[in-house]
Amino acid sequence: MKLDPLKILLSPAAIALIIVSASILAVLVYESLNTWIQDGIGFLLRLEWSPSEETYGTYGMLAPFLGSLVTAVIAMTVAGALSTALAVFVNEYAPKRFNNFISLALFSMAALPTIVYGMWGLSVFAPAVRQSGLASLCAMGSPTGYSVFTAGVVVGLMIAPFSAAMVLEAYRAVPFTYVEALHSLGAKGFERAGVILGLIKGSIIASALLSFGRAIGETTIVAMTVGNVINLPLCPFQPAHTITSLIASQFGNAYLYPGLQSRLLAGALVMVIGSSVSTSLGMWLARVTARRLKGESL
């Protein structure tokens, strides 16, 4: 086999990248090994959280685990609903001259760092939630405005521009013949939207899965708005912890508590897996939908 000089030139970088990702996995697995050996996934299903400096302590992560799930589901719903609505609005109702403005606005929103949204959540949205009195809907609603709902919505708003870009792209990829046919049948905006959304259902679900993957790993916004208590999030207006916010608030002192560091890293590994599965599923679905749409137009 002849050696390609370009391959030789480019390979070191690729190998470095592979080493980086392998070592991330290796560190996560190695540092959390204790948890898996002792407990399997038991720590994820246990509620009991009693830290101890003297003994191994009990660090059941059920509450933060559910906190992560609920927060991500709220974020995914907010991002999904807003981006679908936006796609319908842009394509069926809004004058075409708005298109540039909207895409510019979405682009700018996507460019804002997450900490900026976090700051907005902390000083604008959380106080608004507190004053709205929504918390009284829950038996144990958050009196501070910091809650799973607050975190989920702000994360959802942060993700919405990305999700909207994806849905808009899918919407526009629908073959023109369909749109033309709908118009010639005299279909109204909501009817056209109904048909087209049905066609791109796959892409919408795909974007939702990607949003979920993104939301579950979000730390900054969540740590600033979720309320930071270990609590089963039975109601969205309750304060809670997510795995990421728990890591942000506990990893710094985890060395003092035998067992805590391992549990936190095991939680991190679970998140990596969760986010991987949802993202891969989303990307696969997006590809399938795009291919099917193309196939149907031919």
Partner: protein, 282 residues
């Protein structure tokens, strides 16, 4: 018949109202986020002027001071991260596009996918274990490494995408001249696509600039001076994270000024990207 038509019109109107309100709400939030930062941050910038970019933060409850050392730390860390990210990400992107069926490319693609899906706080934890503990202190270097890892997927993926967009005809023309593949890529394809590669690197830089979680446990929290690459440092996002959650009016105001500063820097990068390559997915 009429009632049916009426119903259709009404449903259409309701749908219109619903999607319009949702769309406007989303865009309004975006505008509001920036507006609040302007309202809170501009007075601080006006009050402190250039000193904001030189001084270090005041004492709790004291003067505002500035974020000078943190700004230097941010620039050093983000630049280091994007340079290192470019050094690894660009060649990997080229490799993944030019030899997409080679085994190394396939592994690299999987590795890249994995890194892209790892929550950024986890990257910070791993760098803490692998770099901070052995070094015996958090440092700008450890922070830069974490940021580099979070920026890598964007750089590599964007590089690959921009290369893939080059029409096949250019390669065919080069091959027909008898140029070997490596010369075609290095002399024609890559130079032709410098714009795309620059876009990729800028995108990565933007990501690195915006991240907070990876530097939480790796960069340290040194706000009073910039001490060097191997010493504790801080970033603007870290300053916001720490200072915003305190009761001190002067620290909160400094945090708002930092928010505004961060928005300005991100927007400059984002619009540089847009200028270079038109519509780009962020």
């Amino acid at each position: 018949m009429i009632s049916w038509r009426l119903r259709r019109t009404m449903v259409d109107k309701v749908t219109f109202a619903a999607v319009a309100i949702a769309s406007i709400a989303l865009l309004f939030v975006g505008a509001h986020v920036i507006l609040v930062a302007l309202v809170e941050g501009l007075p601080v910038m006006a009050e402190k002027g250039l000193r904001l970019f030189i001084e270090s933060p005041g004492l709790p409850g004291g003067g505002i001071g500035g974020f000078g050392p943190t700004l230097i730390g941010t620039i050093v860390m983000v630049l280091t991260a994007s340079l290192a990210g470019a050094a690894i990400g660009v060649p990997t992107g080229i490799l993944m596009n030019e030899y997409s069926s080679w085994w190394l490319s396939k592994i690299a693609r999987e590795a890249l996918q994995l890194i892209a899906e790892i929550p950024s706080i986890v990257v910070g934890l791993v760098v803490f274990v692998l770099v901070v503990l052995p070094m015996g202190r958090p440092s700008a270097l450890a922070g830069a490494l974490s940021l580099c890892i979070t920026a890598l997927p964007y750089i590599a993926a964007q590089t690959r995408e921009s290369l893939a967009a080059i029409p096949m005809s250019y390669r065919e023309a080069a091959f027909s001249l008898g140029l070997p593949k490596w010369k075609t890529v290095l002399r024609i394809i890559v130079p032709m696509n410098l714009r795309g590669i620059a876009t990729a690197v800028l995108l990565g830089t933007m990501r690195a600039l915006g991240e907070t979680a990876p530097v939480l446990f790796t960069a340290g929290a040194a706000f009073h001076a910039f001490y060097g690459l191997d010493r504790p440092s801080s970033t603007l996002s870290l300053l916001i994270f720490f200072f915003a959650q305190t009761p001190y009016e002067n620290w909160k105001r400094l945090a708002w000024a930092a928010v505004l500063q961060l928005i300005v820097l991100s927007m400059v990068l984002a619009f540089a990207v847009r200028k270079l390559s038109g519509e780009v997915k962020l």
